[in-house]
Amino acid sequence: MIHTLYKLLSGPMMWLAVILFCAGTLYRLWTIFRLVRRKEKFICSYLSLRYSLRSLVHWLTPFASLNMRLNPVMTVVSFAFHICLLFVPLFLLAHIVLWEQAWGIHWWALPDLVADIMSLVVPAACIYFAIRRIRKPEVRYVTGVGDYLLLGLIALPFVTGFYCRMQWPGYGPVMLVHMFSGQVLLATLPFTRLSHMVLMWFTRSYMGSEFGAVRHARDY
């Protein structure tokens, strides 16, 4: 049973997730660029590399924008969350060993303790985000069930991953849940609001360009 499921999850399902992620991402980009070409070509004429970068740098550097300074806790949690979310899956030794096993490629891995902490940061941040959604009226007001589900979807692979790392009882089945939840997250990412991972670079660049090159003002 476990062999069959493991085979399914580590093989076809993993490929499916990766393909859906890549294809979904390309599809999102394609639809956006097609809309730009068809209806809003002018956007390209306002884009400025310099001010796109100015905007991105200010919003990707902690506390480099006014709103980050006004919400220091959110800023710290948010940066920690995003960094861990991206780093742990890619630089976890256990994952690298799997890629090495499959394709003979390997790269630098996070130290164990660091990886442990980082994978806990993600669900911890999700809890913070959920509490923030519940407690802050302006956030609760625009929060739907989907927003909580999304937090759960993000937290699940990390919680199960850490569970397996600790080798707590039920290791085998939990590992299967870990694999599956990670795949669901990956596959649905381009189709949920998590697509800001892809689109944010363009919305930020456009805002930065309009503010910098046209309006001569800061957008951060």
Binding site: I2, H3, T4, Y6, K7, L93, A94, V97, E100, Q101, G104, D112, C164, M166, Q167, Y171, G172, M175
Partner: protein
């Protein structure tokens, strides 16, 4: 009588000394991982004889294989040499498969084909035996 006894003892000791590696092999419970510079998990659990008995492996060359010009030798086996002699830590031109990958492929690869035996990290590298 006494002389005979001494002779027997000497012979036994000689045999025992010669057979020592074999005896040790029989008591093998884990795959020695001392060769790895910065080991980050416990040595893989492996009961050599029990495993082979269960798996019905009689041919030592399945694991202790010898490859010549990219082909597995039908006759030669390599029980007397350490894995690392061919599978150096790092993969290179004359060593397509690094040691860690060789171990994992050898064990998990076979388990996947046979659909039996451990597949996931902790099934071979339990946390308790880390220290």
């Amino acid at each position: 009588m006494e002389k005979r006894a001494i002779m027997l003892l000497i012979i036994l000791m000689a045999v025992g000394w010669a057979a020592a590696p074999c005896l040790a092999q029989e008591k093998m419970h884990v795959v020695d991982n001392a060769i790895f510079p910065d080991t980050r998990c416990s040595p893989a659990l492996f009961d050599h004889d029990g495993h082979n008995e269960k798996a019905g492996i009689d041919d030592c060359g399945v694991c202790h294989h010898v490859y010549q010009n990219g082909r597995k030798s039908e006759v030669e086996t390599s029980e007397d040499s350490a894995c690392v002699e061919c599978h150096a830590l790092k993969a290179g031109a004359d060593n397509p498969i690094g040691l860690r990958r060789a171990f994992h492929l050898r064990c998990i690869g076979c388990h996947q084909i046979g659909e039996v035996g451990p597949l996931m990290c902790a099934e071979c590298h339990p946390r308790a035996s880390l220290h």
